[in-house]
Assembly symmetry: C2
Homo-oligomer: 437 residues x 2
Amino acid sequence: MKVQCLKGFRDYLPGEMLQKERMLASVREVFEQHGYPPLMTPALEYAEVLTGKYGDEGEMLLYRFRDNGDRDVALRYDLTVPLARVLAEHGNIGMPFRRYQIAPVWRAEKPARGRFREFMQCDVDLIGVDSAAADAEMLVIGAAVMQRFGIENYKLRINHRGVLSALCRKVGLEGSAEGDFLRILDKLDKIGEEKFRQEVSGIPGLDASGLDSVLAVVLDASSDPREVLSHIEKNLGSDDLATSAIQRMTEILDIVEAAGIGKYCQIDPAIARGLSYYTGLVYETFLDDLPQVGSVMSGGRYDDLVGMFSGKELPAIGISLGIDRLFYALSEMGLIETSSQPAEVLVVLFSEESAPASFSAASGLRHEGINTMVYPKAAKVKKQLQFAQKSGIPYVVVIGDEELKKGTVQFRDMDAGSQDEISLSDAVTRIKTGQTS
Amino acid sequence: MKVQCLKGFRDYLPGEMLQKERMLASVREVFEQHGYPPLMTPALEYAEVLTGKYGDEGEMLLYRFRDNGDRDVALRYDLTVPLARVLAEHGNIGMPFRRYQIAPVWRAEKPARGRFREFMQCDVDLIGVDSAAADAEMLVIGAAVMQRFGIENYKLRINHRGVLSALCRKVGLEGSAEGDFLRILDKLDKIGEEKFRQEVSGIPGLDASGLDSVLAVVLDASSDPREVLSHIEKNLGSDDLATSAIQRMTEILDIVEAAGIGKYCQIDPAIARGLSYYTGLVYETFLDDLPQVGSVMSGGRYDDLVGMFSGKELPAIGISLGIDRLFYALSEMGLIETSSQPAEVLVVLFSEESAPASFSAASGLRHEGINTMVYPKAAKVKKQLQFAQKSGIPYVVVIGDEELKKGTVQFRDMDAGSQDEISLSDAVTRIKTGQTS
C-alpha cells in the first residue's frame, strides 16, 4: 500500500508552513489596507464553466471527473474564471468590485523541480472601472507588498497593450496576427536581437522594414520612464493606439509618483506578458538581486474576460503574486523569519505534580502576549531542553520544587546559554526586551 | 450553459468572507500562542490512503476519481487521516509533534440547509504523548479560543472513555458490544430516560439490572466537577477502568484550575462522542446562550488512529473547531465585526487631475495604519459618497481644487453626517480617536 503523498503534490510541514502562513497573513493585510476584502469560491466547478477558457493545452491539464451525481465537474485551474462566474451569478454585486483571493489551484502538469500540481494563487482584482487611477492602484498595492517584506531593490516594469499593438502595426501585423510576434518579443532579452530577427522572419505577412523602429523602441535602456515615453512617442507617436497608451501611462506615472513609489516604476516596451487577453496596462516585477527568480508579481488590464459569462462588458485589472517565487526570494534574501516554531518560551514540565504550576506560568506568559508552549510530559529536564534547542525555542522556564516554594522560576536563555533564578515577571521583561540578564 | 456554483457548494462573498477570514486569523493566533505551527497537506490523496477509514457510509461520500495518469485518487474527507499519512511518510518528525490545520474537506453529502459538500475543518492535535498535561492543554486552547472571541458563558463538557466502558460493564457489555449502547447514551438528553430504557433494551446481551446504576451516574446534574467525580467513584469505583479515568480527570482538573479555566469545565459522564476511535478523554463545548447550535469545539484522545500507517503506537489528542457553527454563533451574539469592507476611509477621486493628490493622501493614511480605499474613477462626488455609505466605510476624505491649493481636506464622518475642512493629520487624529469633530 502506498502511504505517500500523491505524485506531483507536496506537504508543507509545520516549519515551512508557519513561515508561509505568516507571509500570506502579511499579504492579506496589505490587500485589506487598500480596501480589498477576500472572496472564497469552491474548489470544484461545473466543468463547462472552466472549459474553453485556457486553450487546448490548458484544458488538458484540468482535473475533470464525474461526481457521485454524474455531474461533469473540475477542480479550479485559476482564480479568474471563478471570479467571472461569481460576477455573472451574483448580478447585484455593486461596482466597482474589489476582491482578493488566496487559494490553491490544480493543474495536471508534468511534475518538475519546484513545479507542483497543486499550488497557491494569490490574486487581487478591481472590476468595473477602466481608469488611470485603477491601473495605478495595482502598482501601489504591488509596491506596498514589497515594502511590507522589506524589499527595496526591485522594479515594476510596465507596458501597455497599445504600445505593443503599435509595434505590431510597424511590422504590418494586426489583430490575431500579433500573437506570434509578441510571444517572440517577450523573449527578446533572453534570445537577443539576432535570434529575435531570425525567429520573427518566419511570421507570415511580416514587413521586416519596420523591425528597426521596433527594436529602437524596445531596446531603449533608459531607466527614466518619462524619457522612455517620449522615445516611444518619437517612434510610434503617429499611431493612435500608441498615443492613447502614452497618455494613460503618463497619468499613471503622475499618480505613482504622488503615491511615493515612482522610483520603483520603469516603462519597458518589450514586456508583452504571454497572455493574449490583456487589453491595456501590463506589468511584471523583478528583484534586482535575484533576477533569475523571474517576475514575482505580474498582471494587467483585461477588459474582455470577466464579463464572459454575463455578456456585459466589464473592465478589470488585476495583479497576481507569485507566492512560491516570493517565498523563495524572501528566504534567499533573509527577509523571512526562519523559526519553525511559533513558541518563544518552553515551560518545562518538571514533574506530574508540578504540571498545574507550569500551566499557570504559561497562562501568565501568554497573557503578556508571549507565545508559550508547555512540554506535555514530565520527561527528563535535559531532554526537554534538547527539544527546545531543536525546535528553535529561544527561552526556557523551569519551575522545580524549590522554585515553586519560593515563587521563582529558572529562566534560561538558550542562545546565551545563561540561566538565572528570577521572578516570572522579570522573565517577561527579559523576553520582551531581549536582554540576556 | 450553467453559469452557477456547483450543486451542494457555495461562494463566500467578500462581506462574509472578510469576517470569516478575520475569525480564522484569530484562531491561528491562539494556536500559535500555544506553540502550534500549521501543516498543509494536498487536497488530493491516493484513494487507498483514505479508503477503509470512514466506515461504509463515509466511504460513499468520498470524491474519488481517476486522474489523468489513471491514478485512483480522492479529495480529502477530513484532516486526521492526512495527518496520519504525514506522520508515517516523514518518519523523522520529532515527537511530541504539534500542528494545526485549517483547510476545506469534501464530502458528497445530501445537501441540506447549512450543510455543504465543501466545508472548512479546523483541527489542532498533539501527537506522541499520553498525559494529563497533554489532555489539559486541549481544554486550555479551547478556552483561549473562546476568550479570544469574548465568549464568557460556555461549558467545556468533559468525559473519559474509561467511565463509558465502566458504564457498559455495569450492563454486561464489553468491547465491540459497547457501540450501540454508547450511541443511545449519547442521545440521552434528547430522548429522555424512558425512551433510553426502551431503546437499550433491544441490545443483545444487555444486563438491564445495571441500568439504574448507569442512570444514577449519567443523570448526575452537579456542576461541580469534583462532586461528579466522587459520584462516579461511588458508583463505579470498583471498576479499574473507571478508577484510572477518575485519576486522570482529577489531574486534568488540577491543571485547568491552575490555568484559570476551571470554571468553564464540567464533567459530564453522558458525553459519549459518536466516534468509536476515542480512547481516553472526550469533550464538547456548548454555549450557554445558544445551546441549539450544538457543540462548537469537540475532540478527544485517540491513541490508536494516527499510528495506523506506521504500525507504531502513537498517542494523540486533538480538538476540532466547528468553524461554521462558531461563526454563526459569534454573529448571533454580536461578537464579530459586521463591516463588509476592510477600508476605514474612502478617498474621493474629485477629478482625473486630482488623482495624484488623492493617492498621496491615501498613502499618508495607510502609513498611519488606516485602511484606505481610493475611489478608482472621477465619478460624481455624491455617487462616491453613496458608495461609501453602501459599503459601510465610516469616513470619507475629499480633496477638491480648493483643498489642494490650501493643503487641507474635506473630512466627512458618515455616521455623524458631519463634514469639516481640516488638515490630513487632523483627519488621522479624528479617525484614530473616533471623535467626530
